[in-house]
Symmetry: C2
């Protein structure tokens, strides 16, 4: 945790907050803060700054905060990804959030195992927890928007076609010779398939929606490695 994320409900006054629960335990055990300790903090979807611990007891702590800086610029990227297995999804959400992605669609695909859609993880709050961990890691406050789309064809034909207008629309796909673009400045939608890739029919549907396939080189990467590698190539800031 490099930034303590604050909620509006943490505020007890205009410039003071009270922190309990998970964040308190982390600040206690890992950061080992005490009265007087300064901490980086930021209001969720708001400004960032610093806080100073003013009171400490066994249930939580209070802090005076001064939030005066804007969070880092978001990436101009929408990430559309076939739902991975839950354990991998956690890490992907954390790393995507830490890299500055602000819009993520988890979609169905022929090779997505049906059981993944039954995972407890897909409860809104649990997903949000992993996005928060990514923001806390990266020192950012803007919570990514996350959408679940169980119907591949209607999502691609209707929503993705509409969303893609005027944007760079690309699709990671091994069976093509086009290399991954590097250093994109335009607003981009990146589609990444499941382990084993999209089936041909899905690739065709995405192509009709305006998505150009590119390959990632001679090596096959795990989805979580591919997500980070592709974002890093597209936006090597």
């Amino acid at each position: 945790m490099n930034l303590l994320l604050l909620d509006k409900t943490d505020f007890t006054g205009p410039d003071s907050v009270s922190i309990t629960g998970r964040r308190f335990m982390h600040v206690k055990k890992v950061i080992r803060a005490k009265v007087g300790t300064g901490l980086s903090c930021g209001l969720i979807n708001g400004k960032m700054g610093t806080g100073k611990v003013t009171h400490w007891d066994k249930n939580g702590f209070r802090m005076d905060v001064a939030l005066d800086r804007e969070p880092p610029e978001p990436l101009p990227l929408t990430l559309v990804i076939a739902l991975p297995r839950p354990k991998m999804l956690k890490r992907i959400l954390q790393s995507a959030a830490s890299l500055g992605v602000k819009k993520i669609f988890l979609i169905n695909s022929w090779r997505v195992e049906k059981s993944y859609w039954q995972s407890d993880l897909l409860d809104g709050e649990k997903l949000e927890r992993h996005l928060r961990l990514g923001l806390e890691q990266a020192k950012d406050t803007i919570m990514p928007a996350l959408y679940l789309e169980r119907y591949f064809t209607s999502f691609v034909k209707k929503d993705l076609t509409r969303m893609g207008k005027g944007k760079k629309c690309i699709l990671a796909h091994p069976k093509t010779s086009q290399a991954c673009p590097v250093g994109v400045s335009k607003e981009t939608i990146l589609v990444i398939g499941p382990e084993g890739g999209f089936i041909d029919l899905e690739v065709d549907t995405l192509a009709e929606a305006g998505f150009s396939p590119f390959n990632m080189g001679p090596r096959i990467l795990r989805v979580e490695t591919a997500v980070t590698a592709l974002i890093a190539r597209l936006f090597p800031s």
Copy 2:
């Protein structure tokens, strides 16, 4: 597993192998192979090709193989990384191997917890297992060389200084304004610090050894995300 890695000891004839143990269980349960199934395979540190299952029983299977293709080109990169916590190390070894890194040094640093050096994982065979998983994922056969270096100062002053001659020597370090290079063609040594970064003295020692610091942008990434993102930027093939 996208490639079945073969050892010399698997061969029962010039073009036939016998597979038992972990690889057998994977091929049985995940790939669900049977007599006649074709599998991508490759000899460790040798050529790649295909195999066809000729015999199957409850303890293993036999396969005829034709190995006629070279593995993908290695990255011209040496990765030097402060020893991360064991769980993260596993994933870093897998992803670095899958990305084509062939030389990895795990080094000590002020902020590396001493207990990490006591981890069971640091037994040679266990480390190699994770590198193998990366090769099997990526379809590669060349096993990365892995070195453990517990003495930061002597390693950097002697070995790293010597190794760096004629190479591009760079160091990921947040406290600098230089951006990460993109698309390097020269043989490169990339040094990545621990969570929390190298201390100033370590950065100075690395600078004396010829390493130029660069920063990774406004966001702080976990080491495992940073490793993948940096390799992808340096070598966006």
